[in-house]
Each structure stands twice: as structure tokens, then as C-alpha cells.
Amino acid sequence: MRLLRSHRNEASLATLALVVLALGLFEVLQPGGRDVASLTGDVVTFNTLVRIGILTIVVVGLNVLMGYAGQVSLGQAAFYGLGAYVSGIFTTRAEVFGLPGGLEGAWWWPWLLMGVGMAFTGLFAYLVGRPILRLKGHYLAMATLGLGIMVYILFRENFGFRTSTVNLTGGFDGLFDIPRLRLGSWELWPITRYYFLVWLAALASIAVALNLVHSRVGRALRAIHGSEVAAEAMAVDTAEFKVRALVFSAMLASLAGSLYAHFQAAVSPGPFSFIGSLELVVMAAVGGLRNVWGAPLGVALILAIEEFLRAKGHELFAGIGSEAEPVVFGIILVLIMIFLPEGLTDGLRRLPRLWQRRSGTPAASSEVTS
């Protein structure tokens, strides 16, 4: 049975899986005493690879939502945060909700919460998506932006409760001591174990998204992107498909959020702010929105740039150090958007053709002159 529709995507997925496996084994075995970080001169660490995996899951969902269904979300970090906080809150203070304290010790409890988080976030996305997705273009962008900031404020402000009476989110400081994941008594930690779990989820989400976009559902979403009126004339329930695409992306974001919470063993509101949402959009756009493979590519590139600037920034920009990071980041972003508005995947795809055109130009012009 074929897992995916296209051989090329299957091959790409297999390649990515092999790379993931190779890097993981490298870190485990440490041949010649070298670890993964040493491969890039301590710029891209093993920790970064795990974060790339986690964010890939979020950005894959965003890619389907924005690139295929054509619905902008500038508040995706809210869904990411909901997953993280559901996991964080219920694994550290289940008793606030009157749940028996023993649950927090059960190995299956965090796994169940991952599912609960996805269901809850999906439901939330459905409820807010129904009205909000009636909006288009700029207006949709702004509504999702507002929504994202509201959710962020609720996290930061402990849902409006005084932390002294009911402490849910820990306010600014967030939650600590979130347990690692376990299978029975086998802990998915140290990081080398967790890495494989995260990337398993990331590869699965890529496979699922590839299946989706090359199906009846994916075509309906792309049709909506092309022309809602025409899609409706083809009996596509555009309102429903749009909101389901949002739910899909929100559930992936929630899954990633849960994985993030157990990875950091702590959750604070910072990553789920407006800037967090923007970074997600930037990753998706830089990778290329009309291609699922843009997600891992964009996430890896942006995180690599960030890590590089953090590690080497002070050498490149004497005396300035890591403060140069946002500037360089912003400039790269603007340049990519001006010169490769369809993202890197599109740029790579066009590379052979550009090459042809360049080598073909003299011939064409000589034809004209003769």
C-alpha cells in the first residue's frame, strides 16, 4: 500500500526521515567524540534540531491554512500556546480543577492531555473560525492578529484571576516542573530520545499534510484560494472547508505546543505573543506557502539564521553582539519577500528554469538579429 500519492513526495519524505535518523544516531553514538553541534561549529545544536521539529509541525498546519486554503492567520501562536498550556497546567496543577492528584504521576496522563489539548484547541478554532473566516484579506489578518494577542494576554494575566487566589498560568513567569513524557516507566528523555519522538510527529504531520493537499479536500481548499465564488458553484461548502482547515492547523499547533511544554519542562507566555505568531508566518512564507516542504525548510532556515547570529553575531558585528540579530533577521526577511515572494521552495523549483533561460538568452537574441 502506498503511503502517499506521489512517488516524488514519498522519496522526499524518506530522504528527510533518513537525514533525521542519521543525525539522531550521530548524536547518540558520537563517532570520534564529535556530536551534532560540532558539525556546524556549535551553531546549530541538537537542541535546535528538536525545536526545528516542533515548529515544523506548527508551520505545516499554517502552510495548509495560508498557502492552500488562502486564509491568513497572524495569531497562530495562540493555538500553539493553548496546547502548551493545556499540557502545562494539567500536568502540574490538576488539583485546581478538582482532579485527583495521583493523575499527575500517571505516565499516560500527559499523552491523554495531548489529545485533550488538540480537541480543545480544535473546538476553540472552530468556534472562533466560524465568524472570523467570513472576513477576507487584510481584515482576516487583523482579526486573527487581535485574537492571538487576546489569548496571549489571557496567558500572561492568568486568565484575569489573581495569582494569589487561583494560579493557572503562572502569569509572566509561567509554569515550571512540567514532567517529561514516559511510556510506562521508560522516560522519553534525555534529549536524544525526545528528538526521535518530535521528529516522528513532524514527519507524520508532513505526510498527513501532503496527503491532504493532494486530495479532494486539498483541491477544494486550493479552489477556495483561487475563487470562492467559483468554488461554491462547484458545490464546495467554502465556509465549512475554511473553518476545517483552520481547525486542522490549530490541532497541529496544539500538538506542537504540548511537545514544546514537555521539551522545555516549562511554559511562559513569551513565545505565544504577537511576535511569536509573526515568526511562524515568516517561517511559512520564507519556506514557501504553496508547498508543504516549505514548512521544514523555512523553519530550519530561520532557526539556523537565528542561531548563527546568536553564536557568531558578535564576531561579525564588532561590539554589537546578539543585538544585531533582529536587524539582520528583518533585512533577510524583507529581501526574501521582495525577491522570492513565493518562498524558497519556489525559488529552488525555478532554479533550473532560470539557468536554462540564462543560457538560452544569447541564442534567442542572435535569432532576432539574424
Binding site: M66, V72, P131, I132, R134, L135, G137, H138, Y139, A141, M142, A143, L145, G146, L147, I149, M150, I153, L154, R156, E157, G160, V229, F274, I275, L278, V281, V282, A285, I320, E323, A324, E325, P326, V327, V328, F329, G330, I331, L333, V334, M337, I338, P341
Partner: protein, 351 residues
């Protein structure tokens, strides 16, 4: 009955008429309920009329700044169709540049008054120039891109501005002397327990003058009229010999100037920081949306309303959730009044 009579009849009893009445009732109901909620929450904190007056006055001050920023959004959107996220960056740059120039050693022997005036003027001019540069370097090369691409570009520009500000000014909060006293301590006026800083009057006054100048510019000057023509119909404007890309540049310059003015007059009342632009820009944007995004006077009213609502809302609840009110308003307006609080219902989209 003839067809004409039939048509006449339902022209008269068309739905919008009684829909409008129903809407009015709903509006009145919602407003009353909100007022009741505010009064209830306020009574929990033993607020009297004076406390409310204070909240409204402070909100009015913030709202005036939002109005100025909103005008920048509206100007750029009208002419180019772009939502310029970098608008908040102009506000920050204006304030920071004014502080820096005012503290500049070369001007140390000037007397405080002219020095401050020179600093303000130079900061506005410099920010305007930066606005024009931003348009030339980032918007112009991508002028045919999709809206999302342009949004991301302006976001990138904002990130660069804030990043540069971080390098130049660090994370410290700075201060600009109050315009009245030319010192850090501002004069205050007291009406009972209600306190108004003199700087507030500067904010209102300068904003008022700026709007008057803008009005004159748009109504009575050639460039202003050309800008307006561009916002009505870009193609027609081009046919009339107006170059839309020049207008785009002009719009960004104007927006930057407005943002800078807002940041500068606000600076003595708050304390400018490198990342102040984000939240101010977003609020200005909400104000512009409240005004329907294309209507300058409505954006001004939207800004003032927003300032008052969020300040009163935060006052009766908690300061920490102040920002949430603007975003509740944002989503509410987008969903129920996408044409703005004062705009007329749009006609059906043509297919």
C-alpha cells in the same frame, strides 16, 4: 397594481429601514449594558465621578495619539492599499530621535527652548526621510506583490527599525523635557482631585494643528489633491498624469511625519523605549479600523474613543488587561461593522 407601484412599495418597505431601527435598539442595549457593567465594576472600587473624569481625561490623551497614528495608517492605505506595520516604528523613531538630538552635545550651549524646538523639527524631518526611504527600498520594488507579502515586508521593516533602535538606544527608557516647563517635571493642573498635565494640552493642541494642516493639504494643495485622486482611483489618477509611485512615496513620508509627531508629543508624558512602537502601532491600527480604514475624520474619532474605552476599561478592572479591550473592539468592529463605526453599510459585492 402596476409594476412600478409594486416596486415603489417595496422600495419603501425595504429591509434596511427596519433593520436599521433594530440595529439602533441593539446598539443602545449593548451600550447601556456596557455602561452598567463599568459602573458596577467601578462601584466595587468605590469610584466616584472624579475618578471617572480622570480615567476619561487620561484616555483622551492616549486616544489622541492613537488618532494621529491612525491617520498615518489611513493615508498609506488609501493611496497604496497597504497596511503599514512599520507605522509604530515611525512613532518610536520620532520620540527617540527627538530625545537624542535634544541631548546632543553640540547643542549643549543652546537655551533649552530653541534646542527642544530644533530637536523636534529635526526628528520629524529625519523620520519623514526614513519613511520615504522605506517606501523606496522595500515597498516600491515589491509594489506588485500580494497583500500578504507586503504585510510581511512592512513587518520586516518594523523589526529592522526596532532592532536598530535596540542597538543604538539599548533597552533603557529615555525622557524628553516637558514642552511647557522645559524640564523633566511637568506643570499640572488640578480640578479637585482630577489632575491634568500641561503636556496633555500640548498633545491635544499639536494633534489639532496637525489635523488642520493635513486637512488644508488634502483639500487645497495640488499634491494633496493628487494623493486623494490616487486613493479614489489609481488608474484614473495615472491617466490624469499623476504618478502613483510618487504618491506612494509621499504617503509614506506623510505617515512617517504623523507618526513621529505623535511619538514626540507623547514622549514627555511617557518614557520612550526602543519597543514602544509595537503596541502604539497596533492601537493606531485598531483606531483606523474603527474608522473604517479609509476615512480620516472617522479614524480620529475612533482613536479618541479607543483611548477612552481602554483606559476606563482598565481602570475598573486591572491595568494588566488594558490591551485586551482594544482587541475585543478590533474583532467586534471587524465582524459587525467592517465599514467602520460610522460608515454606511456596504452594497453587495459585485460578481
Amino acid at each position: 397594481m402596476s409594476v412600478d407601484a409594486e416596486v415603489q412599495q417595496f422600495l419603501r418597505k425595504r429591509r434596511p429601514a427596519h433593520q436599521a431601527r433594530g440595529q439602533q435598539i441593539a446598539w443602545a442595549g449593548v451600550t447601556l449594558a456596557l455602561l452598567a457593567a463599568i459602573l458596577y465594576l467601578g462601584s466595587q472600587k468605590n469610584f466616584g465621578p472624579l475618578q471617572y473624569a480622570q480615567l476619561v481625561l487620561d484616555g483622551l490623551r492616549g486616544g489622541t495619539i492613537y488618532a494621529l497614528i491612525a491617520l498615518g495608517f489611513v493615508t498609506v492605505f488609501n493611496v497604496t492599499g497597504i497596511i503599514n506595520f512599520a507605522q509604530g516604528g515611525f512613532v518610536m523613531l520620532g520620540a527617540m530621535l527627538a530625545v537624542t538630538i535634544n541631548d546632543w552635545g553640540a547643542l549643549a550651549q543652546w537655551s533649552p527652548g530653541p534646542r527642544l524646538a530644533a530637536a523636534v523639527l529635526a526628528a520629524v524631518l529625519a523620520t519623514t526621510l526614513i519613511g520615504v526611504l522605506v517606501e523606496r527600498l522595500t515597498i516600491y520594488p515589491a509594489r506588485n506583490a500580494e497583500p500578504l507579502t507586503l504585510i510581511i515586508i512592512t513587518v520586516g521593516v518594523y523589526i529592522v527599525m526596532q532592532g536598530v533602535a535596540l542597538i543604538v538606544w539599548g533597552t533603557d527608557a529615555y525622557s524628553l523635557p516637558a514642552f511647557t516647563t522645559l524640564a523633566m517635571r511637568d506643570r499640572t493642573f488640578r480640578l479637585g482631585t482630577v489632575i491634568v498635565k500641561a503636556q496633555s494640552f500640548w498633545i491635544w493642541g499639536v494633534t489639532g494643528v496637525t489635523m488642520a494642516v493635513l486637512y488644508y493639504f488634502f483639500e487645497h494643495t495640488m499634491w494633496g489633491r493628487a494623493l486623494r485622486a490616487c486613493s479614489v482611483n489609481r488608474l484614473a489618477a495615472r491617466l490624469m498624469g499623476i504618478r502613483p509611485d510618487r504618491m506612494s512615496m509621499l504617503a509614506f513620508g506623510l505617515a512617517a511625519a504623523m507618526g513621529a509627531i505623535g511619538g514626540i508629543v507623547l514622549a514627555p508624558a511617557t518614557r520612550p523605549v526602543y519597543d514602544m512602537g509595537l503596541s502604539l502601532g497596533l492601537k493606531g491600527f485598531v483606531a483606523a479600523i474603527m474608522g473604517g480604514l479609509v476615512n480620516p475624520p472617522a479614524a480620529v474619532v475612533g482613536g479618541i474613543l479607543l483611548g477612552i474605552i481602554e483606559n476606563v476599561g482598565a481602570g475598573v478592572t486591572r491595568a494588566g488587561i488594558k490591551d485586551i479591550f482594544s482587541f475585543i473592539i478590533l474583532i467586534w468592529v471587524l465582524l459587525f461593522r467592517p465599514q467602520g463605526l460610522f460608515g454606511r453599510q456596504q452594497t453587495v459585492e459585485k460578481v
